[in-house]
Symmetry: C2
Subunit: 147 residues, 2 copies
Amino acid sequence: MTDTQFPPADSIDDVEEGSDFAPHFNDAGLIPAMAIDAETNAPLMFAFMNRESLALTLETGLAHYYSRSRGSLWKKGETSGQLQHIERVRTDCDQDVLVLEVRVAGDGAACHTGRATCFYRRVNPDRSLTTIDNVRKIDPEATYGKK
Amino acid sequence: MTDTQFPPADSIDDVEEGSDFAPHFNDAGLIPAMAIDAETNAPLMFAFMNRESLALTLETGLAHYYSRSRGSLWKKGETSGQLQHIERVRTDCDQDVLVLEVRVAGDGAACHTGRATCFYRRVNPDRSLTTIDNVRKIDPEATYGKK
């Protein structure tokens, strides 16, 4: 049985320097998580986790998130085959953000557009966008169905 | 005069594939931003931006955030000297998250604990934490004053 309870935070010193994991979930019960490539550190995608998805991620070694649009647990790659194998989870000083160092299975697409990363565009100082990665590792329409 | 207005999002296709920057701010008027090292991609810190901090970041080339605890604009490094020079800003498919590729000035400490990164602890599968970076690049007490 997956234990979805996490201990409450103690003092600030414990939160910042302790060895007890006491993640801080926001008012909606979620904690932000950034997935990065375990080898290159390249940023891949950003999503939220609830207690259940965090517990399952730690237990199974596969990234689970919480889909705010669908309002449900989301095992990344379940539909697309682009599972994210966890190499390492990290938390920050305040224990209110997670970084997941992952290896993406299948074709290596972390983004639903079929690209390796969701961060495929640069924001220019003039506020225009420039696409810096346009390689589709999977065909999103074939994978997820037509829009 | 800094223009703090950003255009509204158009169609999903435009948001995902267009060249117009139409960042999505959440109900609190904030957008999450992850700062990473421009050279190594190492994750450094996570914070939120409001429209003003995003506009100033793009205009000045220095990372500005919004402090939720203080309820005010936060020019990173103003007190500590650890300014974050922007090499590149990236946005994701949904345009609701930003990645800032930065070079940290001063002693290279992005974390208020004095470390290079806020992500200095690993979360183990048994839910304990292991410190993986304990190098203090600055003395937080000398920099920010006693707690």
